[in-house]
């Protein structure tokens, strides 16, 4: 598998580290049900068979965090963006 980094261009997937699904911001620790929210945030996964949006890190390249859209059934990469954008 090859990924197209917005800075570095098409590179071998071995240069990247996957962090997992790009889920929303961390829960509010002051919320009344913060314990349950953090449990779900840390431990539960949608784990889709199909389109998945994930954070990847270009460890052996520009060291950018990327937001990757890909298909978990075919390994096809549909979109790569900088996570900061």
């Amino acid at each position: 598998m090859r990924l197209t980094c917005p800075y570095c261009g098409e590179r071998d997937a071995q240069e990247f580290v996957t962090r997992g699904a790009a889920v929303g911001p961390r829960p509010d620790p002051a919320a009344p049900d913060a314990l349950r929210q953090f449990h779900d945030y840390v431990h539960l996964r949608a784990n889709p068979a199909g389109i998945s949006v994930e954070y990847w890190y270009h460890a052996a390249g520009c060291r950018s965090w990327l937001r990757l859209t890909r298909d978990t059934r075919s390994h096809a990469v549909l979109d790569v963006q900088l996570a900061a954008s």
């Binding site: 598998m1 997937a13 071995q14 580290v17 996957t18 997992g20 699904a21 349950r36 449990h39 779900d40 840390v42 431990h43 539960l44 996964r45 949608a46 784990n47 889709p48 068979a49 998945s52 994930e54 978990t72 059934r73 075919s74 390994h75």
Partner: protein, 416 residues
């Protein structure tokens, strides 16, 4: 028909003309007491023990493809019970004891071969960790021997003991561990279940779970609706997809685990050997091929096929341990979808939905657990209380803090 010396001799005498299929390929009925989704080893074992040990009638096993076509046919056939964490140790030892009596119980040759599982250590710290694990096993009545370098040299002289980076200092041996024939396990359980009236329905994909009044009523399948009082999921690899049909989110990610086999050679490796300085394990099949594997591919996937860089990494680890491996050619490599749980341990539990029961999260260790998984899941389905040896395998253990994290890696499943 039962198998015995007499029936074999009679079949040979009659030129084997009257052998019959060993299990019945059933048509689905409109309703069952228990429907088990997933015709792999775990699903079929569950049906077998439900019928045999718990006297449940009207059971169906639904399989999307043919039985044993998923991870039951893709694993590396290793059986062992060398676990050190409370919650796992007794469960896997139950499995080991069931393996030891399985052929007599099933009247079917599943080729259980207790040729030993040897975990190598390469440093003082690793020796201490293995000594601790071995002691935990022995306290539970499980066999474990801590071998020094000389004893390992006697057992497996072909390893690279004086490797400059990872010298082999010794190993932890479980002599009762070994291998079993994975397909025969599927067929043996299917035969035993079928003989007790279980309907094994193939080419029957579950497309939805019917819920009425907050209770499970059955499953929608590619062959129509099938009613059920209880539905048990045993679909590791696809657990999240099935659970999503019931509106549940699981502490599971799906990854791919690869395995490889070389061309066949004469008997070479006495048992199962695992590398302690990298992730690599190897055994030799009865046909002669060396079967080996290592880490899962790092990212989530349902593709059932892996990547070359991981194959390369596994082979490099193999070469570091056993340089003669380089003289052999790899014939095949394949991959299975595995349920990676957040602590590396499985689940056998009720779900929040009445009537829906869950068995999954086997990570890359499902095969060895097949008999105990079936026994404990059957216990749960029949009696609605967990089997004592599987009581810790709960879905809510992350909320309660009672995690069973053998490797101490936390909620990062691709590292387990």
């Amino acid at each position: 028909m039962g198998y015995s010396f007499l029936t074999l001799a009679a079949q040979a005498w009659s030129r084997r003309r009257s052998w019959e299929p060993v299990w019945r390929d059933a048509e689905p009925k409109p309703e069952y007491d228990v429907v088990i989704v997933g015709g792999g080893g775990h699903g079929l074992a569950t049906a077998y023990y439900l019928a045999k040990e718990f006297g449940v009638r009207r059971i169906a096993v639904l399989e999307r493809s043919w039985i044993g076509s998923g991870n039951a046919g893709r694993n590396t056939t290793i059986i062992r019970s060398n676990y050190g964490e409370p919650g796992n140790t007794a469960f896997y030892e139950l499995s080991m004891r069931l393996w030891e009596g399985l052929e007599q119980d099933l009247n079917y040759n599943v080729m259980v071969s207790q040729r030993g599982v040897l975990n190598l250590y390469h440093s003082d710290a690793q020796r201490d960790a293995y000594a601790r694990r071995g002691n935990a096993m022995r306290i539970h009545g499980i066999d474990a021997q801590l071998l020094d370098e000389g004893q390992v040299r006697d057992l497996t002289p072909f390893l690279d003991f004086d490797n400059a980076r990872f010298p082999i200092r010794g190993g932890l041996l479980q002599q009762r561990g070994g291998t079993a024939r994975h397909d025969a396990v599927v067929w043996g359980y299917a035969r035993g279940a079928s003989q007790r009236g279980v309907d094994i329905v193939q080419n029957c994909e579950v497309l939805g779970i019917r819920i009425e009044g907050g209770v499970v009523r059955g499953v929608e399948t590619s062959r129509g609706f099938i009613g059920a009082r209880k539905v048990g999921l045993a679909v590791a690899g696809n657990s999240s997809r099935l659970a999503a049909m019931a509106g549940l989110t699981l502490p599971i990610e799906t990854c791919i685990l690869q395995a490889m086999v070389t061309e066949g050679v004469k008997p070479l490796i006495p048992g199962v050997i695992t590398f302690g300085a990298g992730h690599f394990y190897v055994s030799q099949s009865d046909k002669g091929g060396l079967v080996f594997g290592g880490d899962i591919d790092a990212y989530n996937s349902y593709a059932q096929r892996g990547n070359l860089p991981v194959i390369q990494e596994v082979c490099e680890a193999g070469m570091a341990l056993m340089p003669m491996l380089g003289r052999l050619r790899v014939l095949r490599a394949w991959a299975g979808n595995v349920d990676m749980s957040m602590d590396g341990s499985p689940f056998i539990d009720r779900t929040a939905l009445p009537g829906l029961y869950f068995n999954g999260g086997w990570c890359y260790g499902g095969f060895k657990a097949t008999p105990a998984s079936g026994m404990c899941f059957a216990h749960l389905l029949a009696r609605d209380t967990p089997h004592p040896d599987a009581a810790a395998l709960r879905l809510d253990r992350f909320a309660s803090g009672s995690v069973i994290d053998e490797n101490g890696l936390g909620a990062q499943p691709n590292l387990h």
